[in-house]
């Protein structure tokens, strides 16, 4: 039932967004795309719970993270060396492409009601929505959280909290300071199931 509702919702959104104009403006697949989709999935919808979906992420967020990763300021072991020689123009192409894709929410089951409510309260107290926007769709340099892989969200928040090193946003480290692992798990559950 819930699955069908999601499908219908998604379809309506797709119909609404994909008018003739939007369709003609869909960016072509960039040359470097296979570099990304090998792990981040077709159209950037990741099939791997620890790998984030890039579909529907704000353009500037994708651009800036790819630059930081290429420059070695943000270190992701799985991506080490992968961005070597990828130009700024190619990064902009990739970001344009992913921003134009539709994110398919990964959590399709019914959320755990108690966990969801706890996560909702924590997100309110930490003002997550003031930067990530109240629907957690992200904007500019700030990523979309709604519908992202729950496992990835949890690991990313632990990284922000425990290793605020180079390339890690000091604002995020400060936002999550003092939250326990189970708090982060509640937050991740809430955000992954947010519609």
């Amino acid at each position: 039932m819930a699955g069908r509702a999601v499908l219908r919702c998604g379809l309506a959104a797709a119909l609404f967004l994909a008018g003739p104009l939007a369709q003609s403006q869909q960016p072509a697949a960039p040359a470097k795309l296979p570099l990304c989709t090998a792990c981040h999935g077709p159209q950037g919808n990741s099939q791997v719970p620890t790998t984030p979906s890039l579909a529907g992420q704000p353009k500037l967020f994708v651009e800036n993270q790819l630059v930081l990763i290429r420059e070695g300021l943000r270190q992701i072991p799985e991506m080490k060396g992968l961005m070597d020689g990828v130009s700024d123009a190619e990064i902009v192409e990739l970001a344009n492409y992913f921003a134009a894709q539709r994110m398919v929410a990964t959590a399709t089951g019914t959320p755990d009601a108690a966990k969801f409510q706890r996560g909702k309260a924590l997100a309110g107290a930490a003002h997550c929505g003031s930067c990530h926007l109240p629907d957690y769709s992200g904007r500019q340099q700030i990523p979309r959280l709604a519908g992202q892989h729950e496992k990835f969200l949890l690991e990313a928040m632990k990284q922000f909290r425990d290793h605020p090193g180079p390339g890690r946003d000091t604002i995020m480290a400060a936002s999550l300071y003092g939250l326990k692992d189970n708090d982060l798990a509640d937050l991740a559950h809430y955000l992954a199931h947010y519609r």
């Binding site: 651009e63 800036n64 630059v67 930081l68 902009v92 003002h127 180079p166 604002i171 400060a174 300071y177």
Partner: protein
């Protein structure tokens, strides 16, 4: 309704106090981090908790020259602005060597750029990267690079562009906090290197190493604190006649759209206090960190430079290309607001005063980075550098570009 009532009763309680306390009173919102609150949100009262205002995104990819809408800019009659160099994401303060090379620092992207002018065109390369918010200045044949956790000196870089730097970090006693600690560095007429250490918060009682400007000998020795109570200065220059240091300072956030304003200060002698955290702008008492007579002993600014304007570089014009009335006039870049409902700044202004800072008059010089109708910006002007011919370079952090302003007779 309930909220209004609470406010009224609070005002009554405050008015009823026989005496303001002599010990600082710090309200909950200004208590030190960490308190599960982002650094830039700290000092935000409950009524602003749902505000969607957030710092604007920096752009870290190179912007092609064709995408820079330079013709949107407006200058006084006779002045011309052109694109001088592009493709340097995050570019901030610039410095010029004896041979005419330009070096420039950045913030998040961690690079120092080297720009070579062949006359007809400019090319750039990255001199050094992976630094934490590096700033640059050139002095006596050496390029100084100051990051939050590192100081490097490239001796004789004009002769050998690939010279390895000497690491002077250990001599500078750099505190670790990153927030508001990005640098602007410059040598004064006294041959000393001036380095700011901002307050690591929006509003708080900062610890000793913060909210101050220091100066060092060129080798990092003999550190002195020359100014305190400085929240976040982003630029300084020395007055061509009086040789006094003038510096910009950012006002705090989350106290409303229109107050406290940024400051342009004048340092008539070392050791003055500029008010943070108790006294802002031209005598505005802080709401969250309070004490009796908060502005006592505070050197107030020459002029305030607008609410949340993000006042950056200042440059006193000493060239002969511009008309004579621009001589010794301060050019000040305002990067533009984020913590304000309607955007403010995003321009370069001139500030005319008498030599001691009296009768200040602010006038727009370059506008058009902000579309006031749409309340949207495309560029963020940050620092100026005067070339030997008297033209002015202006860096744009958002576009990763340098513009050249000239006057055509």
């Amino acid at each position: 309704m309930k909220f209004k009532l609470a406010c009224t009763s609070l005002a009554l309680v405050l008015a009823g106090c026989a005496q303001t306390p002599s010990q600082p009173v710090v309200s909950d919102v200004a208590k030190p981090l960490p308190a599960n609150v982002p650094a830039w949100q700290q000092g935000r009262s409950q009524d602003l908790a749902a505000s969607p205002l957030a710092p604007h995104a920096a752009r870290l990819t190179a912007v092609p020259a064709a995408e820079i809408p330079l013709n949107a800019l407006k200058l006084p009659p006779g002045f011309k602005i052109e694109l001088w160099a592009a493709g340097m994401p995050g570019i901030r303060a610039m410095t010029r060597t004896d041979s005419g090379k330009i070096y420039a620092g950045t913030r998040g992207i961690g690079r120092v750029y080297e720009i070579t002018d062949s006359g007809a065109q400019r090319t750039s390369r990255v001199l050094v990267d992976k630094l934490t918010q590096p700033a640059v200045t050139y002095h006596n044949g050496a390029l100084y690079v100051a990051a939050i956790d590192k100081v490097l000196r490239y001796e004789g870089i004009d002769r050998d562009p690939n010279v390895q730097p000497a690491d002077l970090t250990a001599r500078f006693n750099l505190p670790p906090e990153q927030h508001h600690n990005w640098k602007f560095i410059k040598f004064g007429p006294d041959g000393k290197l001036y380095v700011p250490f901002g307050a690591p918060c929006n509003i708080c009682v900062p610890g000793e190493p913060y909210a101050q400007i220091r100066r060092y000998n060129a080798d990092g020795s003999n550190m002195e604190v020359v100014a305190r109570g400085v929240r976040n200065t982003q630029g300084f220059d020395w007055h061509p006649v009086t040789k006094e240091m003038w510096f910009t300072d950012h006002g705090r956030d989350w106290m409303g759209d229109d107050s406290p304003e940024d400051e342009l200060n004048r340092m008539s002698r070392a050791g003055q206090n500029y008010g943070f955290p108790f006294c802002h702008a031209n005598g505005v008492a802080d709401r969250d960190v309070r004490k009796g007579n908060p502005c006592d002993g505070v050197t107030l600014p020459v002029v305030t430079t607008g609410p949340h304007a993000a006042t950056m570089g200042i440059h006193f014009y000493t060239g002969t290309m511009f008309p004579a009335e621009y001589r010794n006039v301060a050019f000040v870049a305002r990067k533009g607001s984020w913590n304000r409902t309607k955007k403010f700044g995003y321009d370069v202004v001139t500030i005319r005063t008498d030599a001691s800072g009296g009768n200040a008059r602010i006038e727009p010089f370059i506008t058009g980075f902000l579309d006031t109708q749409k309340d949207a910006f495309w560029g963020r002007p940050v620092y100026m550098l005067q070339l030997p011919d008297g033209s002015l370079l202006l860096s744009d952090e958002q576009m990763g570009a340098i513009y050249r302003v000239s006057y055509g007779r």
